[in-house]
Structures are given as C-alpha cells and as structure tokens.
C-alpha cells in the first residue's frame, strides 16, 4: 500500500495546511512551509527506501477492489517508470515549497498556495502511481482542475483568469478525448489494469479500432504536454505565480502526457502510426517552440516556449520507439526537469526584484546579483547543451538517435538536419536568457529601483537543483544506471543493455552536429538585433484573442440554441417531446416488413362494434366539445363506461369492476374541480397551431393503432402459463389476477399502494392552504342546483350504505377465488361513502366518520408490510404466502390465506387514500366549510 500512502500524504498535508490557516491565522510562513514540505518529503524518503524493490524490474502492484463490475479498482503500481516520475514530483515539490517560502513571504495568499500545490501533487502522483487506467484518468482530470485553480491564482487579474480558462478548456478537452481512448483501450484489452494491457501489445496492434484509440489517447497526451498546435495554453499559463510555473509547467504537469506515452509504449508503440503521429508532432513542436522562444522578450515567455520545444524533443524521441531512443527521452526528461525548474525560479526572483520580466529592460544584473548569476550559469549552460553539461549529453543522444532513424525514406536526411537547426535555436535562446539578464550593459527604466533583493537563503533550492544538474553532467553513467535505466526497462517491451556513455563520448557525427548547432546559435544570437527588427515587423497573431473570440462565439451559439428550444412554453415542450417520440418509434417501425401477422382475425360481434363505435364517438366528442367543459366531462364518463364494458367483454371482470368504481370517483373529482374553473375555454389556438397538433395527434394515434394491430396479429408468447399452473397449488386461489396481485407480484402491489398513499397525502397537503373562496365568487355560479342535498338522494344513500358495505365485504372475501379483491372492495366502499358525502353534505358526513383517513392509509400500508415481514419469522423470503383450508360451522369450508391479510392492507389503503382525496377536494366546495382539517 506504499504507493497509496504516497498519494494520500499530500491530501493530508493540504488538510493540515487548511486547518492551520483556519485556526491560526497568525502562523508565520515558516510554519506553513515546514508543514507543507512534510508530505512530499516523506513521500520522497519512502520512495528512496523502496528503490531496491524497484530495481528488480518487477512492478509492485497492490489492488483493492472498488467497483469490480466496472473494472474500476483502487490499484497502484510502483515500477521503474512510476518511481522515477514520483521521485521527481516529490523531490522537486519539496524544493518548490521551499522556494515559495521566499516568493510568498509576507503575502496573505501563501496558505492557499500551499494547499493547492499539495492537492496538485496528489493528482500528479495519482497519475504516475495508478495501475488502473480509469483510476488514473480521475487523477488526470484532477490535474487539469487543480492547474486551473493554480494558474488563476491571482484571480483578480484578467490575464490570469483567461489563461486559466484556456488551459482548462484545452487540457480538459484533451482529457475527454483520453477518456474515450481509454474506454476503447479497456474494451479492446478486456481490462483496465496496466499489467493486463501491457501484456497484449500484439492483440492491440492488430485490432481494427487501434488507429482511432491511439489517436484519442495521443490527443489527451498532446494537449497535456503542450504539443503543437495545442501548445498555446502553456505561454498563457505564465500568468500563474512563478512557483506554479516552475512546478507545473516545467517538471510535472506537462510531463504527464510524456509519462502516458512512455507508460503505454510497450502496449501501443512500435507501429508506423505511432511513429508517424508522435515523431512528426514532436518535430513540429520542437521547431515551433525553439524558434518562437528566441524572439520572446518576456523571461517566462521565453522559458515557456523553450519548455514547449523540449517537450517536443522528448515526444519525438518517444515516437522513434527504439529502446535507445526511449533511454534518451527519459534521460533528457530528467535533465530538463533539473535545469528548467531553477531557470523558472530565477525568473521569479528577477521578476520580484526588478518588478519586470521584460528582457529589453533587464540587463547587467551581475553587479547586483552575483550569487544568482552563479547558480544560473549551470542550468543555462545545460539548456544550451554546452559540453560537460547534462543537456550536452542528452542532446548528443538525440543527435545520435536521429541518425539511426531510417524507416520512412525522408527520415534519414530530414530528421538530423531538423534537430540540428532546432538545436541552433535552443543555443541562441539559452545564451540570450543568460547574457541578456546578467550581462549586456546596464538595466533601463526598471519599475523597481533599487532592486528588492531576497535573502541569500532564497537561492538554496536553485543551488540544489543546479548542483544536481551539474552532477548529472559529470556522472551520467552512474545516474543513468541507477535511476533512469529502471524507468527505461519499464517503458520498453524488451530488455536492453545499459546505455554506454563512453561510446557516446566517442561518437563523431553527433559531436560535429553539436558543435555546428553551437556555433550557428552563437552567430544567430550575435545577429539578434536585425533579427528582432524583422520579427517585429511580422504580423502579430495573438492566440489568446483568437481563442477568446472562438469561446464567445460558441457561448453565443449555444445561448441562441437554448433560447430557441426553451422559450418557457409547456405546450411547445410537450409537442417537441411527442414529436421526438413519434419520430423515434416510427423510425423503428419502418423495420417491420409486414404489419399484419400470421394469426387470423377473430370474427366481429355486432355488440362489440356498437360498443366500440360509441367509445370512439364519445372520445371524439370530448375533443370537439372540449371548450364546453361540462358536456366534455359527461362525454368523458361515457368513454370510461365503454372502456369498462370492453374489459368486461374481453374476459377481465376484475378490471371492469375496478374501472367502473374508479370512473365514478374520477368524474366526481373532476366535477368538483370544474366548479372552480371557468366553464368554457377561450378559443385561442390559431389554425396553424390546431393543424400542427392535429397532425401530431393523428400520427401518434396511427402509430399506436399500427403497433397494436401488428402485435395482436402475431402469436402470443406469454409467461402466464406459469401463473395459471401455480395459482392454486402455490397461492391457494383460483382468481389468478388476484393471486398475482397479492402473492406472485405482491411486492409490486406494495409499491403501488404506497404510491397511492403518497398521491393522496400530496393532494391533502395541496388543499390545506388553497383558498378558493375568492375564485368561486369570481366564477359567478356558486351552485349549479337550487338544492345542494336533495332529500330523495339522502334517503336512497342512507339505505344503500349497509348494502354497499356488505357487497364490498363479499367482494373482498371472495376475491382470492372469484373476481374481486382488496382493490375493488376498497373502491366500492369508497364509492358508497362518497355517496354519503354527496347526499348529506360534507359536515354531516364527516361528523359521522370516526376514522382519520391518513391513519387509515398508514394502517393499510403497515398491515401489508407486516404481513410481508411475517414470513421472515418462519424463515421464508419477504411476502411468502401460506394458506390453509378450515371447516367453519355454518359457513362450510373456508380457505384462509395469509394473502387475505395482505389484501386487507390493500383494501384499507385504497379506502383511506380515495376518501382523503375526495373529502379534501369536497371541503373546498363548502364556502363556509368546516374550519378543522379533514383527513
């Protein structure tokens, strides 16, 4: 679990820093620094301890299952490659935090920096130490996010905000591409674990989706590592505080893309596509970066472009694919981290001392800052690639590798020339950054004068990095053998011998190329003034402006689109949804070869023809009269009645009974509502709208008709035989519909009565504060009839109640064997009681009603639930039913099923819910009304 611990440490550190800044706002920057450095330092030491394990070339993989169904595990991998990167991240991280101690001295934002940089460190360590690619992807996105926050650190500055946004859009967009690529890769390899993927190089290469997958993965890597043409975000990220630039944009984040390529190289590498995509991109980036860097007057800008160029160089080497090229790539990566970080630190130091980063103003600082000059000599020389320096060796390795590439016909001439020219530029800008800042006459018009110098200790991190850089140059073989070689082994498919630096030293052509680049570079630098003049006359293209314009246009476009779709009209939304549904279904129906299936049609019965015709006519009548609401409602109830008859005709007595009682209740409710609403609808739809809606309606209707017809004329293949066969032996009842409701699908029914209860309670809640009195007065028709509670109705209702209750008890009890059951009995009871309300008035009826409807719902649900749970007591699953036949005196044989108890719960809930709804709607009717709540 050590890799996991290393990832976790900075999170804890960030938490500690946050707590410190919250609880001790006066804590000095020293305490903050010490606290922040603790996590990376511990991580660094842990890595050092584990170095011997890594040298065995046997990756340490630890896995904790997280979501195995998705192939997502918390799994970590520590091998040579991840060890090298993690060491750089933690090691340079320590030095950056030390540097920040002086950079942020006396600034209130220091704690925020320490928190963010540690979180960033976590993300970075997560990328390099993950074994699971999906897991890695999470950290990958996290680096984009954290770098957004770090680049926008000085959020009050417009440049910082824009730079942050640009980097987020580009690297985040690349992250999306990477996500797609990784998902493809995982599917192709059958696993997201690196160990599995790395072992399947052959399978992946020959897969038909390999080109697509590789392009997507590389898009992610290229955006992150600022490869042309995605490099534009990096110079604009220089708006970040210098410690951020030194860390993110030289040593860590931009290297994540390189890491990814090296990581996946054994699985995806060594194909023509790999070479073509990566090497060419790297070459372009190398040249663009080096060329532009030379003309940059901003110190950080120069360093940014130089970083781009070096990233291109490493990318190019990775693309070449040979083991030696990979060795050169990783060796140069280490060298670059070691010389670029101190140069950035120097830039920040000069920036704070002089108040400017413009090299046209900053000159001849050696008089005032000799110590800074001394520690800068080495990294600058390394960047230029002067002999004895680390950069010299890595560049020479590049030259010698470039000579070995022969695969495409153009490569053997073009690549060596290309890298020599790029080397020339890099010499020129390296010489420039050193010569211009420290020598070259005297400073001019510096914003800060006299210079604000930091204590000499501020140079410690620079000095450490410079001496490390020097050490690499002096002892390349030892450094390579012990630190870099293990990484190369992990990044290449085969074993290779150690890189021989003595052979490199004797190589003749690379040395000549180096010498040539150096002399030409010096020449170019000498001739810089006319060159600058020419460059200044070139038309200026500001990438940021183009980017901003594009962003604004995209935003405007999406705004227009959104406003066009969402204009606030529910009618339109509904129409759009319906049209989409119709279109989607129609598209699928076109696949149907013939509409009519093989089953012959059954004969028409005149009675049915009559009933169905009335059904259709009444439905059409509802539409025609919908503006006159009372007639429409009456026609609707006719429709409902004939639906009931259809159920009865087609062998569904239970449905017919249910539909009939529901119909009564529904019409009563709508009548109640109608008394508060206008009696007619205004004619407001214009003809085109009516035609459009008519069109949608007719298309939808024809679709349903076609579909129904297509199904009905095809043979039925139902699972109902099981229910028919098991109803009596398993459920103890002959009415299969009821047995399904209370036994086979009892759990569904439990859910459904719960929904019923919730809807009733919602109606109750809605009507509580609904004040309709004013509305009734407005509508001007307070009562439709002169006598609200006619005596005749009262008499009939009183007599009917006991009979109705008896009928409902009968329906309830026989429900298991004959049509009936809890639902129907409940509805019948509710209808009978509703009649009492209508006949006697709300107050009269309610005074005689002893039960609270809400408790009735609760009791019903509880009965159903407890019946279900009772089967647990006997060791059966939830809602298992049991039954027994009993011989009762006088009544005869009677079957007692536990399902009956469940049905009692259903009955109670239905009664409670229905009456709660009705009584509360009815309460609105009574203008004087009972003051107390009903239900």
């Amino acid at each position: 679990m050590v890799p996991g611990l290393i990832i976790l440490l900075p999170v804890l550190g960030a938490l500690a820093s946050w707590l410190l800044s919250r609880n001790a706002p006066d804590a000095g920057i020293r305490i903050h620094t010490a606290l922040a450095a603790l996590a990376p330092l511990t991580g660094f030491l842990l890595l050092a301890v584990y170095w011997p394990n890594v040298t065995t070339n046997d990756p340490m993989v630890t896995t904790v299952q997280w979501i195995p169904q998705l192939g997502l595990d918390l799994s970590f991998r520590l091998d040579g490659l991840s060890w090298l990167f993690a060491t750089l991240i933690t090691g340079i991280g320590c030095l950056i935090i030390l540097y920040a101690r002086y950079y942020f001295d006396g600034k209130a934002s220091a704690p925020r920096f320490f928190i963010l940089i540690q979180l960033f460190m976590t993300a970075m360590l997560g990328i390099v130490l993950s074994e699971n690619l999906l897991f890695m992807l999470v950290f990958w996105e996290l680096t984009s996010l954290m770098s957004f926050l770090l680049i926008g650190f000085n959020w009050s500055s417009r440049g910082a905000r824009r730079g942050a946004r640009m980097s987020l859009v580009i690297t985040g967009g690349g992250g999306l591409a990477l996500l797609a690529g990784i998902l493809l890769l995982g599917n192709m390899a059958g696993s997201f674990q690196l160990s599995d993927i790395l072992a399947q190089g052959e399978t992946l290469h020959n897969h038909s989706l390999y080109p697509l997958m590789l392009s997507l993965v590389l898009l992610g890597a290229f955006t992150k590592s600022a490869q042309a043409p995605f490099h534009l975000w990096l110079p604009h990220a220089m708006a970040a505080p210098t410690p951020v630039s030194a860390y993110l944009h030289s040593a860590t984040m931009v290297k994540a893309g390189l890491f990814l390529m090296a990581r996946l190289h054994p699985a995806l590498g060594d194909t023509e596509l790999w070479f073509g995509l990566i090497t060419v991109t790297g070459m372009v980036t190398l040249m663009v970066g080096a060329f532009v860097a030379m003309f940059m007057h901003d110190i950080k800008g120069l360093l940014a472009y130089s970083t781009i160029s070096h990233l291109g160089l490493i990318t190019m080497l990775i693309g070449m694919g040979s083991e030696m090229a990979m060795a050169a790539a990783l060796f140069h990566l280490v060298c670059h981290a070691l010389f670029k970080a101190p140069l950035f630190m120097m830039a920040g130091y000069v920036d704070q001392a002089t108040g400017s980063r413009d090299m046209q103003l900053i000159n001849g600082l050696w008089r005032w800052m000799p110590a800074l000059m001394i520690v800068t000599v080495i990294p600058a020389a390394a960047m230029a690639g002067l002999p004895l320096m680390s950069g010299y060796l890595s560049k020479k390795m590049l030259f010698s590798e470039s000579l070995l590439v022969t695969a495409p016909p153009w490569a053997d001439v073009v690549i060596p020339m290309w890298v020599t020219v790029a080397g020339l530029f890099s010499v020129a800008y390296s010489v420039r950054i050193f010569h211009n800042i420290f020598l070259n006459g005297l400073p001019r018009d510096l914003p800060v004068w006299p210079l604000k110098k930091k204590p000499i200790y501020a140079l410690i991190p620079l000095a450490i990095l410079a001496s490390l850089s020097l050490a690499v140059g002096l002892m390349p073989q030892a450094i390579y053998d012990h630190l870099v070689h293990i990484a190369v082994l992990a990044a290449t498919p085969s074993h290779l011998p150690l890189y021989d630096f003595s052979a490199l030293a004797e190589a003749h052509t690379p040395a000549m190329m180096s010498l040539l680049a150096m002399l030409a570079g010096l020449a170019v630098y000498t001739a810089r003034k006319p060159l600058f003049a020419i460059h200044a006359r070139l038309p200026e293209v500001d990438a940021k402006d183009i980017f901003e314009t594009l962003m604004q246009r995209t935003i405007r476009f999406s705004q227009t689109l959104v406003y066009q779709l969402e204009n606030g009209s529910l009618q339109r939304y509904l129409a759009l949804i319906l049209m989409t549904t119709v279109a989607l279904v129609a598209w699928n129906l076109t696949g149907l070869e013939q509409w009519q299936g093989p089953v012959p049609l059954s004969a028409l019965d005149p009675l049915v023809v009559f009933g169905v015709s009335i059904l259709c006519l009444s439905a059409i009548g509802v539409v025609l009269f919908h503006r006159y609401r009372l007639p429409a409602l009456l026609l609707l109830s006719v429709t409902g009645l004939f639906v009931t008859l259809i159920f009865a005709w087609f062998s569904a007595p239970d449905l017919a009974l249910t539909q009939l009682s529901v119909e009564v209740m529904a019409v009563v409710i709508m009548m109640l509502a109608l008394s508060f609403l206008p009696q007619t609808s205004p004619r407001e739809s214009r003809l085109p709208r009516v035609l459009r809606d008519l069109f949608v309606a007719v298309v939808a209707g024809s679709g349903v008709a076609t579909f129904t017809y297509a199904v009905l004329t095809r043979p039925a293949n139902s699972i109902s035989d099981f229910f028919m066969a098991n109803s009596v032996p398993g459920g103890g009842g002959t009415n299969v519909v009821n047995v399904i409701l209370v036994d086979f699908r009892g759990f569904d029914t439990l859910g459904e009565i719960t929904v019923l209860g919730i809807a009733a309670v919602a109606v109750f809640a809605f009507t509580q504060k609904l004040n309709l009195k004013q509305r009734v007065a407005e509508s001007g028709h307070s009562h439709w009839v002169a006598e609200p509670h006619p005596v005749f109705l009262q008499m009939v209702a009183h007599m009917a109640l006991p009979i109705a209750l008896l009928v409902s008890a009968y329906i309830f009890l026989r429900g298991h064997n004959m049509p009936g059951g809890g639902f129907i009995a409940g509805l019948v009871t509710a209808v009978a009681l509703t009649l009492q309300y209508m006949a006697g008035g709300l107050v009269w009826a309610h005074e005689r009603m002893r039960t609270q409807f809400r408790s009735l719902i609760g009791a019903g649900l509880l009965i159903a639930l407890l019946t279900g749970m009772a089967s647990w007591v006997f060791g059966y699953p939830f809602l298992t039913t049991t039954f027994a036949h009993m011989d009762w005196p006088l009544i005869g044989e009677f079957e007692l099923a536990s399902a009956l108890l469940f049905d009692l719960g259903v009955y109670t809930t239905v009664v409670g819910a229905t009456l709660l709804i009705l009584a509360n709607l009815g309460k609105l009717m009574t203008i004087a009304g009972p003051g107390k709540e009903i239900g």
């Binding site: 539409v623 919908h626 429409a632 009905l712 229910f723 009415n735 009733a760 064997n817």
Partner: protein, 112 residues
C-alpha cells in the same frame, strides 16, 4: 375484431394527444384521462383479446392472460390517484397564477 380494436385505440390516443397539447389545464386533464384509457387498453390487449374466458382456474378450458390484467388493475388505480393529483395541481395553479393557462399566464395568442 383486432383491426377494429386497434383503430379504436388509435382514435383514443389521437384524442388524448390532441387534448394534452391544448392551452388550458382542464383540457389537459381530459386528455390525460383519455390517454390513460388508451394506455390501459393497450397494455391489456398485449394479452390478446379473448371473450368469455376469465382467468379463473377451472372455470373454462382456456382462459385469458392474467398477467396484463393484474398490471392494468393497479395501473387504473394509480392513474386515478394521478388524475386527482393533477386536478388539485391545476386548481392550485389557477388560484396562485390567476389563470388556468398551462404556462400560468393569459397570453392573447399562441407562443411562437
């Protein structure tokens, strides 16, 4: 029989769809009721149309498919509860927004 049944379902659906596209809440409630009739009949018919053979064991040699019936039974009850809820919702909207237009306002003409 099947053809007529399908056509009737289509008519019910068309009427329901046309009504739910209207601008006043009461028409929408009417439309929803018609649509739920159509949907219930559609689900029911998936068990095929059989007459004179209810799904009761031992009553007739063959019997109708009980499963769609059981599903539709609960659907009827729940669509009743939902109708009640929509009714109350439209009352609430009518009171609070002083209009029974579905968008809560009284536009003199259709929205674009």
């Amino acid at each position: 029989m099947e053809l007529m049944f399908s056509v009737a379902l289509g008519i019910l659906t068309s009427c329901g769809v046309f009504l739910i596209l209207r601008a006043r809440t009461f028409s929408v409630v009417l439309g929803l009721t018609l649509l739920s009739h159509a949907v219930n009949l559609f689900l029911f018919s998936m068990g095929r149309l059989t007459s004179g053979a209810p799904a009761i064991v031992g009553l007739t040699p063959t019997s109708a498919d009980p499963l769609p019936q059981a599903l539709v039974l609960t659907a009827i009850v729940i669509s009743f509860a939902m109708t009640a809820f929509v009714v109350v919702l439209s009352l609430k909207a009518a009171v609070e927004l002083r209009s029974d237009h579905v968008d809560g306002e009284n536009p003199n003409e259709d929205r674009p």
